[in-house]
Homo-oligomer: 419 residues x 2
């Protein structure tokens, strides 16, 4: 391990303008003066990725993923080059690296590639030569030599993977929020910043739409026990949220946070013949297209037919509907319908492991507020409900209050000092 | 040779908007229907390169060339991906390729790298599989694996180099002008489009500021006898200008064109000690910085001192002045001054080889118009004069008239039919 090395990732908002790039450069100069080595991972300048995507979609309804990857990867290359230039102007020996140059090798699943390996040889050499390395996040290269991207928020994953490959002390995700909150402050004014969150909780939160971190980034950090810090890019002396292993002395309320994921959609197939293999017929083509299905509900069978509903990411709805319309014909379902006006509201807490009754309290709270639950799914440390989008704010506030999340939890009594 | 293959290059204006990218895609569909295979090379969307450069320069006065290359190369990647998407939307099996992917290997001179080799293996495979290949122009990769760019207009060079490597029938430079003109129509309203120009003439024209083609592109084409066509991207059925070997039946006026190069600057070192080795002291550091010097004048030596003036590309003036100020101290020159308000006006014609008196007529014409000549240089087929920028329009018009360039030349009497 390289105790003196930290990896910092700056998001799109933090490098969104030339002025902000200068601010980030100033920050890095200061951090470097504390005697640490730094690898910086940058996202594309805020809005750039959406702008490029919009251009692509104006040219083709479903642009191929390989071309999207080449297109989008440009954004991070631009911000990496610009930040490097700003650092060099401050007398820092900085060097930019693309995904390929930093040795980030992925599989071939364009637009959501998985990291296979990092060949960090060149990066190690550059660090030895005292360089600050500025890495274009979000991108890698596949075995064919084509550019791949890691999916939305992939720069976080790039950062953690690099921190692991280089044996960094910690990986800091520098962003436009102060840390991880009990819930989205724009929805619930009483939302509170958390000081520490366990990997498990953060994993659930990330997978449930807490946009602050990408799930794969947390998985990576968890797997290799890389301490992850989410903090504001520019607020100085402000401790962010540390994501690390669960600790007996960690504050451990029953519920840590409430996530509301708007990026959800539901597809329903009506009157599907209820026979063996039908689920495979439906979900295999989606899996082949690398579309992740989240919750699945199958109604009780009536006269040999059943209705099948499932949820997925909203941006994959169009592609999934094309596939489902074909599938419906093949399996003789009578109707395929899509609903994009739903949200997934989720309650997460490592404390649920030792507390029962959380689900019951959720259902009671929602019911008292006349919020209809469309689907439910649970895990060891979370409960998720699909509800209508129009109810999301009401539900989030009611649950935040019901679980007293605005109050800072008392530390465990048996907390030892200096630990 | 692959008789059915053509390489087409579309410049920044031609892919400057999404609408134009669609038009280019339409053109390619039509061309493909005539039964040819096509490799397309694209520039960055018009204005993009300048925008990126401006950003870099706002962050550092002299951004490093390596970072500039990473930054600028993004522009062509974006347009290549977008055009590929537009082609795919038209049912064309298209595939984008970056400089690296197309195998364009360069030396390590960032921002003006030279092509060392093209490993066209993958391109050949893709062509065999019936793909239209869309190549991000202007860029390559150096032996260290870093991105390099070929200098302004480098996409033309990419296109010709690929045409040669793939054994194409011809290389078409599709641009926003109809072809090569006798002179800049914005300066001389009587300017006339040329149907055929020899490589030699085009080489001189390109090196003299006819912005329609980059000199290296013409050198490359000349070396490998690759027919080069300059034509409008969108005007259909409009023959551009063919650049090829000189031909006895080619129209061969004494003067083919007048070029006016505004991208010129002059540096003067005053009172340089006149001793052996002094020129090397001055020009070696410039050569090391890959700055090309054009004309050089040394005054008659007075009392062991001499004045030395030379011209160079205007955009390299700042960098050259930094170097020259150091050199001046070392060699005890008393003063270094820069003049960016000059232009180089040049008269080119393969016919000059067999005609004398062209230079005399130029000097007479300029003198009659009270245009002062600051420097002169000549070659077998051109005469160049450095004049003050304020005289450029006057001089261009006077020379265009003096050499009767507005009139289409009569064909040679001995022209055979069907040749």
């Amino acid at each position: 391990m390289n105790k003196s090395l930290i990896v910092q990732k700056y998001g799109g908002t933090s490098v969104g303008t030339l002025e902000r790039i200068e601010l980030v450069a100033d920050q890095i100069v200061k951090t470097r003066k504390t005697g640490v080595d730094i690898v910086v991972v940058v996202s594309a300048m805020g809005g750039e990725t959406d702008k490029l995507l919009k251009m692509a979609r104006s040219l083709a309804k479903n642009p191929t993923r390989r071309e999207i990857d080449l297109l989008l990867s440009s954004g991070e290359r631009i911000s990496a080059a610009l930040l490097t230039i700003a650092l060099q102007a401050r007398g820092i020996p900085a060097l930019s690296m693309t995904g390929r140059q930093i040795g980030l090798q992925t599989d071939s699943t364009h637009t959501r590639a998985r990291i296979m390996n990092i060949d960090a040889q060149r990066a190690r050499k550059m660090l030895k030569e005292n360089h600050v390395i500025v890495v274009a996040g979000f991108q890698g290269i596949n075995p064919e030599g084509d550019v791949t991207t890691l999916g939305r928020g992939g720069s976080d994953t790039s950062a953690v993977a690099l921190a692991v490959a280089l044996g960094a002390r910690q990986c800091e995700i520098c962003t436009d929020v102060d840390g991880v909150y009990t819930t989205d402050p724009r929805m619930v004014p009483e939302a509170r910043k958390l000081d520490v969150v366990s990997y498990d909780e953060m994993l659930e939160m990330a997978s449930l739409g807490a946009n602050v971190l990408q799930i794969r980034c947390v998985e990576f950090a968890h797997k290799y026990k890389m301490p992850l810090i989410v903090k504001s890019s520019f607020k100085e002396g402000y401790k962010g949220t540390l994501i690390c292993e669960e600790d007996p002395n960690m504050e451990q309320p029953v519920v840590s946070g409430i996530m509301c994921d708007k990026n959800q959609a539901k597809i329903t197939l009506k009157e599907v013949p209820d026979q063996p293999g039908i689920a495979a017929n439906i979900f295999e083509p989606l899996a082949k297209a690398a579309i992740s299905v989240d919750m699945i509900i199958q109604n009780v069978s009536e006269q040999g037919h059943t209705d099948m509903s499932f949820t997925l990411q909203r941006e994959e709805l169009d592609e999934a509907m094309v596939i489902m319309n074909k599938v419906a014909k093949k399996i003789h379902a009578t109707q395929v319908s899509a609903d994009a006006k739903i949200v997934k509201i989720s309650i997460v807490g490592a404390g649920m492991r030792s507390h029962s009754g959380v689900a019951a309290q959720i259902f009671k709270t929602l019911s008292a507020n006349k919020v209809n639950i469309l689907m439910i799914s649970t895990s060891e440390i979370k409960v998720s409900c699909i509800i209508e989008q129009k109810h999301s704010k009401l539900a989030a506030n009611a649950l935040h209050t019901a679980f007293k999340l605005a109050d800072k939890p008392a530390k465990k009594k048996n907390k030892k000092k200096n630990q």
